[in-house]
Symmetry: C2
Subunit: 233 residues, 2 copies
Amino acid sequence: MRSVIKRPTEEETNLSGFQLFKKLTEDEFIRLNYDKTCSLFKKGTIVYREGNRLTGFYCVTKGIVKLFKTGVDGKEQILRFAKRGEIIAYRSLLSQELACTTAKVIEEAVLCHVPYQTLLYLIQSNWQFSHHMLQIVCRELREANDYITDIAQKTVRERLAEVLLLLKENFDLDNQNNLQISLTREELANMVGTATESVIRLLSEFKQDKLIELQGRKIKFLNIPALRRVANI
Amino acid sequence: MRSVIKRPTEEETNLSGFQLFKKLTEDEFIRLNYDKTCSLFKKGTIVYREGNRLTGFYCVTKGIVKLFKTGVDGKEQILRFAKRGEIIAYRSLLSQELACTTAKVIEEAVLCHVPYQTLLYLIQSNWQFSHHMLQIVCRELREANDYITDIAQKTVRERLAEVLLLLKENFDLDNQNNLQISLTREELANMVGTATESVIRLLSEFKQDKLIELQGRKIKFLNIPALRRVANI
DNA sequence: CGAACTGTTGAGAGGCTTCAAGCCTAGTGG
DNA sequence: CCACTAGGCTTGAAGCCTCTCAACAGTTCG
């Protein structure tokens, strides 16, 4: 399933933009770059599957990766999308468990694989790296906790509005207020935790209410404050 | 609201049983003990509230603390219960955010407060401590992700069965198969993410189906494999 | 002993899901 | 180049799971 077609460009393998590596010494950064392996992944590629043993974590330097768990009846629950500057697979690696999510490329991506040994080396040699890592995980844990509360207490309508706003935060809008990520209705449903049909119906209600405009998978935001009110934030 | 009635016993303030501190040097452990402040908290006490600025984390050496978020209409969403050997408040501390949960004592507890400075000192001086901390957070993150998937995809019935089994894992059963934690119906509902009435109805269905036996808040497990099947695990 | 909280049961309403059928779009192969 | 197929999208109808509201019993505690 893994398909590596061509070498990524120099710029696409550069890790100096990553917050996580900001506090590394020159030597540490050199070692990191020496140990990493960057590859280009086509859309649709599975980077790793739930249950896999992982050999390292990945830095996303380009593209978008979808992270999801497989639940009841094989229905996928999307946990997050990782884009440039973010890292994936580190959770299972650190807790030394098998992967508990599947990572699938939804927009042609460049990923840099950093071996477990290198991660351990950085943790041992540089406390600021560990500290930064702790902050990343802790922030993700808060987001997970927030999401548990929402999903447990809010209606599907509220959750869909919230998910749209969340996507807006993470992927920005273009100059015409279009969401810069293209998802299927099913993927939206798998984020919200509902049926595809429900998403379709609610989206067209949002459209009727002039909150958004739809054109295929393109979603244009027309009235963000109102959307926020629907989301009950 | 904070009520400290009497000094905890020597044994109740001992942190040597904590996995997290296993790899500390003697000096580090001495400093930890010097810096900590242990107090006894009565049932019902709020240790800290959502939005508070935290000055350190707490080690639970006795009792049970309920951690929850306040969601829509002030309805609480229980995220977990912390018991002897576990730590709380470390997430917000590490990511340097305001507390995103409220901690309430539901069984008379002894908590040892460890100042933020001491935490930072340990992170800086001992990479094994950081590593252990990372593992703890990562494990909690996996549990949160698992729970998101369940709550998004399973029925209330399945979730209630699962919550009961989860409680069994965390708090064990006495020699008569009674769950060793006493929760109100509302608290069960706030874990599952449903209405109190639904929990009541489902519990009595489980009772009819001879899966459990009820006596006030006491829950006796009669048929765990069947309960597991109901939970759809 | 009364107040406040907790637990229980019933009835009705409604949000969502499921099933089913048809449309549309995009990619493929003849 | 175009028909064809597969997967995504849309809409309708039916029904159920779950919530809300309401009334009341039981329990705990000052």
